[in-house]
Amino acid sequence: MYLCILGLPLMGFIGAAGFGRFLGGRGAGVLTTSLLALTFFFSCIVFYEVGICGSSCTLSVSPWFLSESWDATWGLLFDPLTGTMCVVVTSVSTLVHLYSTSYMGEDPHLPRFMSYLSLFTFFMLILITGDNFLQMFVGWEGVGLASYLLINFWYTRLQANKSAIKAMMMNRVGDFGLGLGIFALYTIFGSVNFESVFACAPHLSDEKIVFFGTEFHAYTLIGILLFVGATGKSAQIGLHTWLPDAMEGPTPVSALIHAATMVTAGVFLIARCSPLYEYAPDALGVIALAGGMTAFFAATTGLVQNDLKRVIAYSTCSQLGYMVFACGLSHYDLGVFHLANHAFFKALLFLGAGSVIHAMAGEQDMRRLGGLGQALPFTNTMMLLGSLALVGFPFLSGFYSKDALLEVSYAHFTLSGDFTFILGCGAAFCTSYYSFRLVSLTFLGEPKGPKKAYEGIHEAPFQMAIPLVILGIGSLFSGFLGKELMVGLGTPFWQNAIVNLPTHNTGLEAEYIDQSIKHLPFVLTCIGGFLGLFINSPYLSPTVYKMKLTALGLNLYTFLNRRWLFDKVYNDYIGAPALNFGYNVSFKSIDKGVLEILGPFGITQGIRDLVNQIHKLQSGLIYHYAFVMLLGLTFLLTLLSLENLIQVWVDPRLWFVFGLAFMSYFLAGEKTTDEEKVLG
């Protein structure tokens, strides 16, 4: 059964990819969806066995690299963390599969799409079930690959190509960090197995490591390097630019990969490495600061985006920031809990957005939507529900995790705690604003789109409605049901999967903070929500538009709408010089220049000339032959009798230089003849 969790999605992938043309779109859809449903069923059992009954287990599948002390194997580790992730991944994945069969129903490449989705699920499961860093890395790269393939699913669209490449590039930076982190881990621990590494973690916490000629505290360095990996995958500030662009992919992909599962891999990584991070407070500080900044930055950017999916993408980015800073404050359990809740409501939001886009024949600009509430009451309900859960409306799922997050950060009483609390509250306000702005612009107000789009409007079909309903239920209750289990004070649920030093845990303090502070996020949320609804309502929008035209307003709007100009800076200061270097230096000067002349071109030319020379030696005259023999004899005689003098010259390096000189000589000769030809 444990193996089936990995095997069934892989089977789905192979079936849909290899036999897609026989199965047809519908067949592939049924196959993959049913296999995924089965996987989900198994995951629930695993969650029950491992999480609730508390029997973690590992499976050793097969050896992989066995080289002296290097002992990476293919193994599966099922502990509560994995169990939770499994349930989240497979449930969302199953629903997205089901949703896609309808959403993508008219696409001729449906089998390919379904196979990619299954492939993604498979790799995601590899990532979360791996029992060593190396296997996790395989999953990590695999989901990156699947993400690339899915963003680029409509590969004839230039924008999709660009986004896919951007996602790949940005993730490479992160993967580089992750790779270095794993190397550093191996240097310190001599193993990449989770068990060995984490068991040794408390005992090696004073180790030092030399990196770039400087000595660092090993855990801090490892922690930061791993966090660089997480930054890439979880779109934290700095490497986040790919995530909004990834919305070029089909909407179910955005829901599955770029909201619910893959982007949370970074959070999972940090939670998984909690035994290490607990001994690297500096790394935790960095993580908390980065997470807080991401949460705030993404939320502010989301305020003024006009694309329906882009707003939700920035919201995802911001929520990821929340999760990361929770981990940075040593509350990995809260991070994971928020991850699970977020998966439901964000998938709901995306699928709802997909439903809108589907209904409006591909229109996703919010300025051309509006008034859809009456036309699409079901979708409207679901989107509203998702938004409420997102902003943390009391007793919906977001409330339990997000408010708890802010509380513990306030109760942390450190620099990073206060920093994240302030930014988190700001982000909560912005979240609320843009969520209700979205609702207001899309569903309320008057229709602003072309008449044609509104004529063809239709409510989501059955296969699309079912996932929405289920995710809606999830968004309603997952927080309430999971709170005590996962983040209740002193819960035994996590066993050893998440290590939290008693000194770092502020769960208790959080219960005793000031009541006003506890209510602050809610108040901010309410204000933000009202603002969001009213500013964007038709009655106030002319006034707002005037405000936007003032110098300050315009600057602020441009700054936020242009996403804090991150892309501009990257393109101008990194992208352009890199491209310039790549074309002018490495391509033109080195590859086509030096290497071409000394390499293929030079060798062919040089050899041709050499051959002609040798050919001329073969004159056919007997006295020439005898003369050459004598010459050879004389040469050998010299070689032997003046051995001591000559020995200096018999040096491979000199031969090499001689060879180069020889070749350049021939090339120079060749060039002059060419010039002569030109002149002649």
Binding site: I607, L617, Y625, A626, M629, G632, L636, L639, L640
Partner: protein, 492 residues
């Protein structure tokens, strides 16, 4: 004197049998030639082949494994047995190729067979030589036979030119040999290899004068031998002679003398002058390098098939000299293995070339190979695999031998030789593959196809068996490893 008859002739039974057999054939030819010239060569070939086969059996079944005979002038040991067997096999293969060739070229001289047998006998004696004098006699014996064979087609100006060039330059190199040998005799007072070896044991850099003089003698000797195996820079004669001589004789030239001369080289330098390793290592190092380079670069410029094969054989000699330069058992084993595989590949290549005959005559230019694939797919496939094997592409026999030699070179710390060997084999790949391109990748309408003359049974058999060898030696090489190891062990 009486000892001579007691056991020495026992050791010489194969050679004696061959000599008697060829004398009988000579008598038969002289007395019965008149009136049946056309059948005579065929008869002679059959009987001569039988003679060779019996000699081969006598050689293999000889009870005497190690022996020094005829007053310390000849020796029988593992190496001589191995090389003699290969020489006999190669001559047998040449006989097999000759049946149709002699008919097609209208060579009605039965002396052809006699001369080949005499050359074989001399090569066998060469391998067994244990003394400068006996070696010289054997070399001259062999050379005289080969000069005549090269000029066999008296009415062909290429052939006579080849014979003459070979003769003049061969005499030149014999002079070198005699000068070197007399220098050494003058310095040491002995001509026997083993005596020399014992005399030089432990000669270090103490006695500089003697050492220097011996080295000069050594150099002259080695130049003579290197000329005979056509190693660069003493190779200039070989493309001309190979081109001019009748094709079967070219095949014989490119195999049999090399087998014997490598035996001689090993005998002289490993037995007599091993203590001068660091001096003669340089000679062979340089010649090996030069041969590989000239072999591969020279071949690039060729447009004639036989000249190309001549340059290819110069390249192969270069690779074998690597083994000689190592001065180790492994290197010797590598040479012996290489010789065997070289024999197989060369016989195969020449069989293919001889099979390419059309009604208009023998093909001479590489362009005649154009679109061979359409004329005869099987021949094209065979030839391309042989060329791949010569180039040293992995699953074929040629790879095995080269690989072994390069490893020996690496073990002996001759890194530059190994690396340059690999590089030059890359270049040689180029011209081998360009032939394959000629055979396969041309538009059908570019040349009009002339039908090939049918292949006779003997040639077909040779083609098949050598092709089989090239393909499958790699799968089960251990018997050949063992054989070459046994041959190498007798020297150490």
């Amino acid at each position: 004197m009486f000892y001579l008859f007691e056991s020495d002739f026992l050791g010489l039974i194969p050679e004696t049998f061959l000599l008697l057999g060829l004398s009988t054939l000579l008598g038969y030819g002289v007395w019965y030639e008149k009136g049946r010239e056309s059948e005579m060569t065929s008869h002679q070939l059959w009987v001569g082949g039988l003679c060779l086969a019996f000699t081969f059996i006598l050689l293999c079944e000889s009870p005497l494994m190690n022996m020094i005979l005829c007053f310390n002038t000849l020796i029988i040991d593992g190496m001589s047995a191995y090389l003699k067997a290969l020489i006999l096999l190669s001559t047998l293969c040449i006989f097999g190729l000759s049946f149709s060739y002699l008919q097609q070229e209208r060579i009605k001289a039965f002396e052809y067979v006699i001369l080949l047998l005499l050359a074989t006998l001399s090569l066998m004696l060469m391998v067994s030589s244990y003394d400068f004098i006996s070696l010289y006699l054997a070399i001259e014996f062999q050379s005289l036979g080969l000069y005549v064979l090269a000029a066999l087609k008296r009415d062909n100006e290429y052939s006579t030119e080849a014979g003459l060039k070979y003769f003049v330059l061969g005499a030149f190199s014999s002079g070198f040999y005699l000068f070197g040998a007399s220098l050494i005799y003058g310095l040491t007072g002995t001509t026997n290899f083993e005596d020399l070896g014992i005399l030089f044991t432990g000669v270090g850099p103490t006695d500089l004068f003697t050492q220097g003089s011996v080295v000069v003698g050594l150099l002259f000797l080695s130049v003579a031998f290197l000329f005979k195996i056509s190693a660069a820079p003493f190779h200039m004669w070989s493309p001309d002679v190979y081109e001019g001589a009748p094709t079967v004789i070219t095949a014989f030239f490119s195999v049999a003398p090399k087998l014997a001369l490598f035996g001689v080289l090993i005998r002289v330098f490993y037995l007599g002058f091993f203590d001068f390793l660091f001096s003669w290592q340089q000679i062979f190092f340089f010649c090996s390098l030069a041969s590989m380079v000239f072999g591969s670069f020279g071949a690039l410029a060729q447009v004639k098939i036989k000249r190309l094969l001549a340059f290819s054989s110069i390249g192969h000699v270069g690779y074998m000299l690597i083994g000689l330069a190592t001065g180790s058992l492994q290197g010797l084993q590598g040479i012996f293995l290489y010789l065997l595989i070289y024999l197989v590949m060369t016989i195969n290549a020449f069989s293919v070339v001889l099979s390419l005959r059309t009604h208009e005559g023998e093909p001479r230019f590489l362009l005649d190979l154009k679109n061979l694939n359409l004329k005869s797919p099987i021949l094209a496939l065979t030839f391309s695999l042989t060329l791949f094997s010569m180039a040293g592409i992995p699953p074929l026999a040629g790879f095995l031998s080269k690989f072994y030699l390069f490893f020996a070179a690496l073990d002996a710390s001759l890194y530059s030789l190994a690396i340059l060997g690999v590089l030059s084999s890359v270049i040689s790949c180029f011209y081998y593959i360009s032939i394959i391109k000629l055979m396969y990748f041309h538009k059908a309408e570019e040349v009009q196809l002339k039908p090939l003359v049918g292949i006779d049974g003997q040639k077909g058999f040779l083609l098949g068996i050598t092709f089989f060898g090239i393909l499958f030696i790699f799968l089960y090489p251990s018997p050949f490893f063992l054989l070459s190891h046994a041959a190498a062990l007798s020297i150490s």
